[in-house]
C-alpha cells in the first residue's frame, strides 16, 4: 500500500495523469483549474514530457489532436468557457477515433458565468457538445482520491476504445485537499497504436488520421462503426456507487461534489426517521440507467440533485420511464446545495 499524501484535487489530477503515462499536456489558463497546468508545467519536464501553454483553448485541443494522432498519451484541462472553445477539436478527435483525456473543472455559466463550482455542463459533456453523432466517456469523481483513480481509467478507456474521455469535476473538487494514495494500477491489455502517424518508417502503407468522408455511404458506415463501439461501452463500462439503498423510500440521484453532500443529508434524514439512499453515477456517459430502472421497482420516489437547473434529471426520467415520480432540486451559478436543503426536499416528497 502506498503512502497517503495530502493534495489539492487539481494537482492530484496532474500527478495521476503522469502516473498513467501521460507525457504531453497542452492547455490555456482559466479559473478554477489553473493548478492543473501549473502542476504539469512543473512536473512534466522532469519526466521527459512536454508542457505547452497554447495561444488559446482552440489551439490546445488541436495540439492534443496532433499528439494523440501521433500516438501519445495526452491530456488537456480547462473550465466551462474554455471547454466550449475546445468542442470543435473534441468533435474532430471523436471523428478521427483518437484517444485523449480532457478535464473540465466546471464553473457557473452560461457565458462568462462565474468561477464557483457548478454542474451545468452535463448536457455538453454527455450529449456531444460538439457537432456530429458522437459520444465521449464522461467520468465524474466525487473525491480527490477518486480523481486519482479515475484518471488511470480515463487513459485506459480512451486507448481501449480510441475515443476522447472526459473527467468532469467542479471548482470545489479541484480546490479541496484530501489525503490520496497513488495505488499501483494493474496494466490492462490495450490494442497497439499501429494507426498512429510516426512517419512511415518503412511500413509501406501510409497512416492517415482523418474524420472526412465525402461519400455519404462511407460517412454513414463510419458513424455506424462508432455507434457499435458506443454500444459496447454502454454494455461494459457503466460505473456507479449505490449507498444506503437497501430499504430506501427515496433514492437521490447525484454525482460529483453534490453526491458527497447528499451523503451528509442522508445521515441527517435518517436521524429524522426518513429512509433515503443514493445512486451516484460515476460514469455520466454511459449512464447507469439499469440500476436506476431497477431501483424504481422498490423506492417510492426519486430526487435528482444537481448544481444546475436540471440536466441529468432528464436521463433519470428516461431511466425511470414513468414508473415512479422523479423530483428535482438544483442550485446553480456557483451556489452549492446544502444538506439542510436536501433534507427539506425529501421531507416534502414524503409528505
Amino acid at each position: 500500500m502506498g503512502e497517503k499524501i495530502l493534495m489539492k484535487g487539481a494537482e492530484a489530477l496532474g500527478e495521476a495523469a503522469i502516473k498513467a503515462g501521460c507525457r504531453f499536456f497542452f492547455g490555456y489558463p482559466i479559473t478554477p483549474q489553473n493548478e492543473v497546468p501549473e502542476y504539469m508545467s512543473k512536473r512534466l519536464p522532469k519526466e521527459g514530457g512536454v508542457f505547452l501553454q497554447a495561444e488559446s483553448e482552440v489551439a490546445a485541443i488541436n495540439m492534443v489532436y496532433g499528439a494523440a494522432g501521433a500516438g501519445a498519451r495526452v491530456m488537456t484541462s480547462s473550465s466551462s468557457p474554455g471547454i466550449s472553445l475546445k468542442m470543435e477539436g473534441i468533435s474532430y478527435i471523436a471523428g478521427a477515433k483518437l484517444p485523449c483525456v480532457i478535464v473540465n473543472i466546471v464553473r457557473g455559466g452560461p457565458g462568462l458565468g462565474g468561477i464557483q463550482p457548478a454542474q451545468s455542463d452535463y448536457f455538453q459533456a454527455t450529449k456531444g457538445g460538439g457537432h456530429g453523432d458522437y459520444r465521449m466517456i464522461v467520468l465524474a469523481p466525487s473525491s480527490v482520491q477518486e480523481m486519482v483513480d479515475l484518471m488511470g481509467d480515463a487513459f485506459d478507456l480512451a486507448d481501449l476504445y480510441r475515443m476522447p474521455t472526459m473527467i468532469l469535476g467542479d471548482g470545489m473538487l479541484g480546490q479541496m485537499m484530501e489525503p490520496v494514495e497513488f495505488k499501483e494500477r494493474k496494466p490492462i491489455a490495450l490494442p497497439p497504436k499501429d494507426w498512429a502517424t510516426t512517419g512511415k518508417k518503412g511500413r509501406g502503407k501510409q497512416n492517415i488520421i482523418n474524420s472526412l468522408f465525402l461519400i455519404a455511404e462511407e460517412c454513414e458506415e463510419h458513424n455506424f462503426e462508432l455507434k457499435k463501439r458506443y454500444n459496447e461501452i454502454e454494455k461494459n463500462e457503466v460505473k456507479f456507487e449505490s449507498y444506503n439503498m437497501e430499504d430506501a423510500d427515496v433514492a437521490i440521484i447525484a454525482y460529483g461534489t453534490t453526491a458527497r453532500i447528499v451523503k451528509t443529508a442522508i445521515k441527517r434524514a435518517e436521524s429524522k426517521g426518513m429512509k433515503v439512499g443514493l445512486i451516484r453515477p460515476i460514469t455520466l456517459w454511459p449512464f447507469p440507467e439499469k440500476v436506476i430502472a431497477a431501483a424504481a421497482e422498490k423506492v417510492k420516489a426519486f430526487l435528482t440533485v444537481e448544481m444546475s437547473t436540471g440536466q441529468m434529471v432528464e436521463d433519470v426520467r428516461l431511466a425511470v420511464n414513468g414508473q415512479k415520480p422523479v423530483y428535482f432540486y438544483g442550485r446553480t451559478g456557483g451556489m452549492v446545495p446544502s444538506p439542510e436543503e436536501m433534507v427539506a426536499e425529501v421531507e416534502k416528497i414524503l409528505g
Binding site: K4, L6, G171, M177, R260, I261, K263, V336, S338, E340
Partner: protein
C-alpha cells in the same frame, strides 16, 4: 466524532497554511480530513478563509454551514462567522486585532491576544501557531505531538530551524485556554 472548523482572517495571516497544517495533522493521526479554501478574486488579498473537517467517519460535504469551531483572526471574520458557530461550539478570537465582542452565550469563547504573543516571541508570522495552540488545547481534535510532527514533515529543510519557535507559539497559545 467530527470537528468542522473554519479559519478566517486577512490574506497574509497564514490562515490557509494553518488550515493545511491542521488537515495534515489529522491525516497523520489516521482521521478522515478535508481542506477547502474560499477561492476566487478574494484570494488575491483581502479576506481569506478555509474549512477543515477532521472526522472518524467518511466525510460527506466538505462545506460547512455551521462550524463546531471558528478561529477568527480579524473583525470582518468575527462578524461573518460568529453567528454561524454551532450551539456548544467554540469561537477562538485573536483579540490583538478583533475589537468586537461576541454576544453569544451558548458557545465557548476563547480570547487569545495572538499577535501580541507572537511579537513577544519575536516573530509576528507565528500568530497562526498561537491560535493553533489554543485550538488544540480547547478541542483535542488533534494532539500537540501530531502538530509538531506535521510541521517537521512539511517545513522545508532550510526552515527546520523554526521548529522550536513554532513549538513555543503552540505552547503559549494552549496555556491561555
Amino acid at each position: 466524532m467530527a470537528q468542522e472548523i473554519i479559519l478566517a482572517g486577512f490574506g497574509g495571516q497564514g490562515i490557509m497554511l494553518a488550515g493545511k497544517l491542521l488537515t495534515y495533522t489529522g491525516m497523520l493521526e489516521g482521521k478522515n480530513v478535508t481542506w477547502l479554501p474560499s477561492y476566487g478574486p478574494e484570494m488575491r488579498g483581502g479576506t481569506a478563509n478555509c474549512t477543515v473537517i477532521i472526522s472518524d467517519e467518511e466525510i460527506g460535504s466538505p462545506i460547512v454551514t455551521n462550524p463546531s469551531v471558528a478561529l477568527v483572526f480579524n473583525n470582518p471574520s468575527l462578524e461573518k462567522f460568529e453567528p454561524l458557530v454551532k450551539t456548544g461550539g467554540t469561537l477562538i478570537v485573536n483579540t490583538s486585532l478583533v475589537t468586537i465582542k461576541s454576544k453569544r452565550t451558548d458557545i465557548n469563547i476563547i480570547n487569545i491576544p495572538a499577535n501580541d504573543i507572537a511579537i513577544e516571541l519575536g516573530e509576528v508570522k507565528i500568530t497562526n501557531m498561537v491560535m493553533m495552540g489554543a485550538f488544540v488545547a480547547a478541542t483535542k481534535a488533534v494532539s500537540f505531538e501530531g502538530v509538531m510532527d506535521a510541521l517537521k514533515k512539511t517545513l522545508p529543510a532550510h526552515r527546520q530551524n523554526l521548529l522550536p519557535l513554532n513549538e513555543k507559539a503552540l505552547k503559549k497559545g494552549s496555556e491561555l485556554v
